[in-house]
Structures are given as C-alpha cells and as structure tokens.
Assembly symmetry: C2
Homo-oligomer: 526 residues x 2
C-alpha cells in the first residue's frame, strides 16, 4: 500500500467541541482568573438578552463561592422567560447552537458558543456537570445535570427532574470550575459595575467570594427599545454569499428574490438591478450560472440603493451613557455623543462616546478607557482593538491633555466608547476587542473629536482662569507691603487701606470666575 493510502487512513473529522477543548484560550479561558470572568460574563449576557427579548426588566443574581484551593462555584439566577425543556441540553451543552447567529439584530450573544463553552470548561477542570434549573411561566421548574460529549458535540443528560422553585420564570445556572478570584480592572467586580453603567434598566445583585454583597439597582423602569431584525443589504453581500442565497431562496423569480430576501429593494430597484445586470426579471434564481452571478454583482454595484434601516440597532443614548458614567466616575465635567448610524460591509452600526474629566481622577496617569460592544463591557486586549487605535491616533494635545505620539493621552480623564451593531466584529471568539475595520475606526475618531472639542474648551477655560487667578494671588501676596507704603505716603490707616484693597481683589476674582468659567465642581456642559 502506498504512502498516500496510509496518510488517508489517518484522516478524520474533528468535532468542534474537541477543537475548542484544546484551543480554550480562543474562547477566553486562557487562565484561571480570566476563566472566572468569562463564565460570569457569558451567563449574565445571556440573561440580559433573554430578558430584553421577553420584555422583562432584568433582575440578575451572581454569586461566587470559594470551594477551597482553585475551585469556585458560580451561581447565576435570572428572572428571564426560562428555557423550554427540550432545548435546555443543547443551549448549555452543545457548541454552536442558539437563536442569535441567524438573526440580523443587535444582541449581546452571537454564535451559540459562550455558555456551552463555560459548561465545557467547568467539566474539563473539575469533572462536575452543569446544574441548570429552568422555569417557564405556568409550568413546573425543571432541574437538569448536563455534560457535553466532546466527541459528538452533543449534550448528555445525567439527571433530570421536576423541582419546586419559588419564582414565576427564570433560569438558574450552577457551575464548579477551576478559577482564581482577583480584583482590578479585569475582574468580575469591574465587569459587574461596568455592565450596570450600560444597562441602567437592570438590577444586579452580586456576592463575591469574600461574601461581600453589591446591589446595583436599576435607575430606569423603562425597557430599552427592542432592536428589529433586518434582512441583508445588497451592497454588503459578497458573491459567495449571493450564490448561497440564490440556491436557498424560496422565491421563483429574480425580482421576487431581490425584493423579499434583501432590505431596501422595492419593485423598481429590483428591475433596475436586473436591467443593469442584463438578467431577466422572471429568471429563476436557481438557474443562474457562475457568469450570471458575476453580472448580477456588477448590476448591484451599479445601482443606487438607499442605506439599510437602522432600527436593528439601539444605542444607549447620550443621556443614559453620561448618567451611567456619573455613577461610576466622580468628575467635574462630563459630555457624550451618539453618532448617527453608519454601515460597514452592509451592516449598520452606531458609535457612542462619553468623557468624564477631573474630579477625583489622577492627572499623572494614562487616561482610563472603558470599552463596550452591544452593552457588554470589554475588559481584555485593550491595546489590540479599534478603540485603542482610535484613541491613540486622536490628537489630544489640542484638547489640553499631554500625549506622546501613538500613546494614550495622560490626564484625569475617563473615555467610554460603545459600539452598537448587528454584528460587532471581534478579534476573537472570546469577544475581547473590536477588529480594526477602517469604517469603525473613522466613526470612533469622529465621536472622540466631537467630545474632545467640548473637553478642550472646558480644559482651556480652566487653565486660563487658573492663570488669571494666579496673577491675582501674586498681587494679593503683596497687599500688606503696598498698604504699608501707601499708608506712609497718604497718612491713611494701614488697616483701612488693606481692607479696601482686599475688597477690590475679591470683586476682581468674582469677575474672573464669572467670565472665564471657573468650575464650581458640578458644572456640566451640554
């Protein structure tokens, strides 16, 4: 038998679960500290998504219990709609299974990997099954113990029974895993606090392993508007995807196909595309050959089509983003900007930026950066993403901060950047940083500049005012000497002269403060 045959015998399919089992760092399980964060993040993100979809004001309980050595128990409970019995296994113990991948709408979750990866990690490191309780309204609660069979990427049900659970609906997840608990900017604590900033409609009750409880109460009773689903826009489609859509469409004429499987294509636009492509309106989508499809792509490129609708994305809004930042950072000046939606690869997105300056923040360090995508805080890989690139490439010296070339500016400033999109492009499955798409970087920079200009006006006013004040102070220091001299010359009482001079100085200061806008510690520009 030849070598080619021998090699052929070794060929095998790899299950996606085996793949991620070995490449767990791709999913955010590089080390024990990050693993703890990733597990909490995946569960909380799912809870927030489910509540939003079911129009429920979320209340989420997160509890971390130290079980000794490197073992932690993570318990997460929500008041979401629950998961119907038949799906529990696949939602928690099958990778690439979920409702979000095929829907064109802004959501926290994307591809049906996260929570199953968390269960898989727990299973790998402690051998313990995931314990899930789910209650759907009007039904009894179900309790399951689950494992993921990595050879097949299918769930194994180890136990299942009805249980009593004193709530209307919701899901409870209990996982034992190898982990490490630590504070700091990449901790579960930071994640929980930042999640509250961008989800002002959620109440989160968090108990850390030291049994300290943090209750973050919702600040609005209003649910955020729901993101609508959209169909793909013709200008964002690649030829390979078009081929697939043509094969799978249920419509029998090209005109119907274009009008129904895309957004922003009416009868007129469809006709124009087809005439530009030299394809008949009644041609069957499935009958198009390779060269016809190339013609079709050229036809689409030639045709003007209105930009996609943007109700598929829901920004946080300037007011709420700024309010959220005020909760977290004690500053003296805040401002924010929500840009109008833009498009990359046919996918709509919105960039929002908020700044908080001064106050209790240290002035001799690099600025503090908070990054969010679809209302989820991003805590890792700061330097490798679009947000970092946009900030270091913005000229902050114009706005009164110190900055070396290609470095973060230095000063008492917090910069929060939020990207809302149907499909935020992350640099890895662990969803830690936004990929460097030029269109996204451009929008972030524009938002930073708009806020930066407001900041610059404030910082420069403050600097000028301080300079004037210093001049006045110098004069003040000489008051007694001047008074004595004047007293000698005029014979007037030294004390009276000094009083008079001081009164003048005070008036002068008030005048400066009024006209140069010295901050009173609560000023807010908008």
């Amino acid at each position: 038998m030849g070598i080619a045959d021998e090699l052929a015998k070794q060929q095998r399919a790899v299950s996606i679960a085996e793949f991620f089992e070995r490449n767990r760092h791709l999913l955010g399980f590089d080390n024990k500290k990050k693993a703890l964060l990733t597990v909490v993040k995946e569960a909380v993100d799912n809870s927030l998504d489910a509540c939003e979809e079911a129009k429920i004001l979320p209340q989420i309980t997160v509890e971390l219990i130290h079980m000794g050595e490197d073992r932690y128990r993570v318990i997460i409970e929500d008041n979401g709609p629950g998961i119907v019995q038949e799906h529990i296994g696949r939602v928690f113990a099958k990778l690439l299974y979920g409702s979000k991948f095929h829907s064109q709408r802004q959501q926290r979750g994307q591809q049906g990997i996260g929570i199953s990866a968390a269960c898989l990690y727990a299973q790998l490191t402690t051998g313990r099954p995931a314990k899930i309780t789910s209650k759907v309204e009007g039904k009894k609660a179900r309790y399951c113990e689950l494992r993921l069979d990595t050879k097949t990427n299918e769930p194994q049900l180890l136990a299942e029974r009805e249980v009593d659970w004193d709530c209307e609906h919701g899901v409870r997840i209990e996982l034992d895993l190898e982990a490490q608990y630590q504070g700091g900017s990449q901790s579960v604590d930071a994640y929980i606090k930042q999640t509250a900033i961008v989800n002002p409609h959620a109440t989160i009750i968090y108990t850390n392993p030291k049994a300290e409880q943090l209750i973050l109460t919702r600040v609005t009773q209003e649910l955020p508007p729901q993101a609508k689903e959209i169909k793909p826009h013709p200008h964002g489609i690649e030829i390979g995807v078009m081929q697939k859509m043509l094969e799978n469409t249920e419509h029998t004429t090209m005109q119907q196909f274009l009008m129904n499987d895309f957004c922003r294509v009416g009868a007129g636009t469809a006709k124009e595309i087809l005439s530009n492509a030299l394809i008949q309106v009644k041609a069957q989508p499935k009958s198009l050959r390779a060269q016809d499809i190339e013609q079709l792509m050229k036809g689409i490129a030639k045709t003007k089509i209105i930009a996609p609708p943007t109700d598929c994305i829901v920004p946080i809004g300037e007011e709420l983003l700024e309010a959220g930042l005020q909760k977290e950072v004690t500053a003296e000046f805040y401002c924010s900007k929500t840009r109008t939606p833009e498009i990359y690869h046919g996918i709509p997105f919105v960039v929002e930026v908020a700044l908080a300056y001064g106050g209790t923040q240290r002035g001799d360090n690099a600025v503090n950066v908070l990054r969010f995508a679809n209302k989820v805080p991003l805590l890792y890989q700061m330097r490798s993403g679009a947000v970092y690139k946009s900030i270091v490439e913005t000229g902050w010296r114009t706005y009164g901060l110190n900055q070396s070339t290609n470095q973060l500016p230095v000063g008492p400033l917090t910069i929060a950047v939020h990207l809302a999109s149907v499909w935020p492009p992350f640099t890895s499955e662990a969803k830690e940083a936004l990929a460097n798409y030029p269109q996204i970087i451009k929008e972030i920079k524009l938002a930073l500049q708009e806020c930066g200009r407001k900041l610059g006006r404030y910082v420069n006013k403050k600097k000028k005012a301080r300079a004037e004040q210093e001049r006045v102070s110098v004069f003040e220091a000489y008051t007694p000497v001047c008074a004595e001299l004047l007293s000698e010359i005029t014979g007037e009482s030294k004390v009276r002269i000094e009083q008079h001079m001081t009164q003048m100085l005070v008036k002068n200061k008030e005048f400066i403060m009024k006209n140069k806008g010295i901050p009173d510690g609560h000023e807010k520009e908008n």
Copy 2:
C-alpha cells in the same frame, strides 16, 4: 404560546463553516493583503508536512498571477505523495477534517482548517471553485473542481475527471481570490524566504505577480528526522479529559488503561498511581464514578513519573538555524542555541534562538525579529505573543545594545526564535503568534540570555578594541610633531624618527587586534 416557546422556535445549530464564513478574520482573512499570504502559507505548510511524512525531499512551486483589479490566481504545486481520490473533497472543502488533530506529533498543520478555509475564502470572494489535481504513485492523476457547502460543511464536487500530469506524484492547487499583492515584512515574498531559512531541505520556486522568479535551492539533501507520535503524559491531563479517556478506552482494567493509553507508565508506575488513588488494579475504567476519578487525579499528582519522551519534536538544530540565518542576513557575528526540551501541560517543546549582529544591518532601528513555530514563519501579531514579551523583558543593555524599558532593543541585530512542539499554543486559529504561557516565555528568555552573553562578549570586545584603536590614532596624529621635536633634540633625521615611530604603532595595533579580537568581518563565535 409563551415567550419561552417562541424563543425556542428560533434555536438552531450553526455549521462550523457558517461560523467561519462570518468570522473569517479569525482564520487570517482580515484583509486582502493578508488573505493572499494566508492562502499561500496554508498550501505550502501542507505540502511540507506531506513531503516530510512521505520522506520526500520537497520541491514546491508557488505562482501568483494578477487577473485584474483585486483578483489573483494562486497556483501551488508539490511533489508530495498526493491525496487519494476519496479524500480530496474533504481535505479541501470541509473544515475541521484532517489527519493532524488527533496525532501527538510536531507538524505544521494542526486542526484541518487552514486549506479548506483558503478554498472557502476564494469561493466567497470570487465565486470560483477550487481546482485540485492530485496524483498518487502508480495511478492516473485526478482533477476536481470543489465547493464547500457552508450550510452542511460538506464538499460539493462540481467536476471530476482523469487527467494527464507529467509527474510521479504530487498535488496542484489553483484558487482565484480577492487579494492584494505587496512587498514588505508581512508579504508572501518574506514568507517564502523565511520558510527557506528553517526548511533547508526544501527547494521552493516562487514567481510573484510581476513575473519575477525566485529559486531557493535546498542546501541539504538530508531529510530532517521524523517526529514520533506520543501518547499523553499523565501529569498533563485534566480531569475532564481523563473522564473521556476512561469512557473510550478499549482496555478493561485500570492498570492496562494506564500502561497503554499514556506514555511513561509501566506496570510499577501504574500500580503506584492506583495505590495512591486507593483504586484497585483490576477495576474497570468504565466503572469509575466521579469521586473515584477525582481520587485518580490526586493519585497521579502524588506519583513521580519520568518526563515525556522528546522524540516527538524535532528542532532545526543550532548549525542549520545559523546557516539559514547566514543566507538571509549579512552580519559579522552569528550565534545560536537549541535548548533541551521542556514540558508545559504535559506537552514537550523546544526553544531555539539564533542571533546575527552587525554587517549591513542598520544600527539605529529596533532589532529585526524573526519568529517561527514548527518551522513555519510567523509574520503578524508580533507584539502580542510570547516571543515579543520574552525579548522586551530581557536586559539587552548588558549585551551592549540600547534599550528602553519594555521596548525592543535598538541595534544592528536580527533575533530568530523557533518553537518546536507537539502543540504550539497560538493566540488565534490564524496561527500568528504564540500565547503567553509562562513556561514557554521562561525557555525563550533563557535561550536569549545564552546567546546574549556570547553577543555581549563580542560587542564589548569590539567596543574596547575600538577605544584602543582611537587612542593609537590620536598618538598617530601627533607623530610628525613629536618626530620634529625629537629630531631637534637628538639631531637624528626627522624622517627616520617618524618611520621608526610608525613601525612601533603598527606593531602596537597588531598587538591590540590580536588580544582584543577586532573583527575581520567574517569571524564566527562558537
């Protein structure tokens, strides 16, 4: 119907191909320039692996043809063993299919994603199928046109026939894709040159889109030794993997299981593990309950077991690595170090470092870094990997270079780092950088230090010699004046005195050069 039921209706499985179709940047297809490199890299890596496995001295032809606008045709031909007919479809048009994932041995490829992803990218961007010709020794060549059905992750055969191909065996791949050709350190050109450095047994014939041909002839007729396959080492196994191995073993007693499914476990070690774990030698692997498995893990941890064998990894070797570097970089001093194998997570690995100093290299720039993993050059994400971290955290000032804290050193130096391992931990599926595992960083640093010390001796000698030389030169400048003075005092002829002094100086210089080791431009320390 409740909201939970409605949500359940949207739940669907995502095909791995759909997942990567949308997340192509995870596989190295972020942009058109990188896409071209990735396609060439995946094909050439596969060719080198196949030739190595079949004990064939590789000859690989790479041709890039510009087809107009952003379209390029990539043709790669090798003299490997070929692929048997039944497997061609799945090798080139099914993700996660291959022979390498389940073998514990050093290889370039890993998970059966790369070349299928390349074909998928071509199909997405140009709609054209992959054209594959394969010839197995003694059979007629087969030609196929392939597409990957992303909904199912299965190959579609569009055409297939016997063809005449004037060679004994090999594979030819032809792909049309959207790409961009550019020179520079991240180009196909750089990849080809660096591949030749670390694969001195390969001949590569490369034609770029300008029709310029580069022929890199093999410098050794000797095949590198073949890496042997190994079984997992007990100390590198996690509890979740142990569970799976216990379920899937064909052995019926625990002793047999430990002896046969792991490396470095003989009868004695197996008994010791089991006695430490309080498990009977004849217990059935499949009968172990969760708490028994936890006991087993503790038993393994308690037992001393020899380190895994290291013939599963094959370093390049100090001599060949240095010779490779000499081909690429014109320097005046070279040195290299191959460390002894080490273990992380039960996986053996070897670090090799080579340095090239001086010569035509510029001295006012950051040093040039070449990174390799399993004989594959890594061209992207330099700053996010273990190699960069190791270099910037090494104190290069001791070795005579300039360096700011946490920056690359500055000087006329090229640093080449190679990691050979059964499973190099990459930071992404695109295999661009090595993840920051502490054990790997430690080994790289030690290798850098060993080479660094040799470099330091050379650089410091050179500096001292230069200082002496300068002193002599100063004296030389005064020779005529001294000679005149001495001539006046002694009455001796000025010319004779000057001649005499010059002779003395020359001797002195020779003496300095001999003792301080002034380089003659070709010196090589080893």
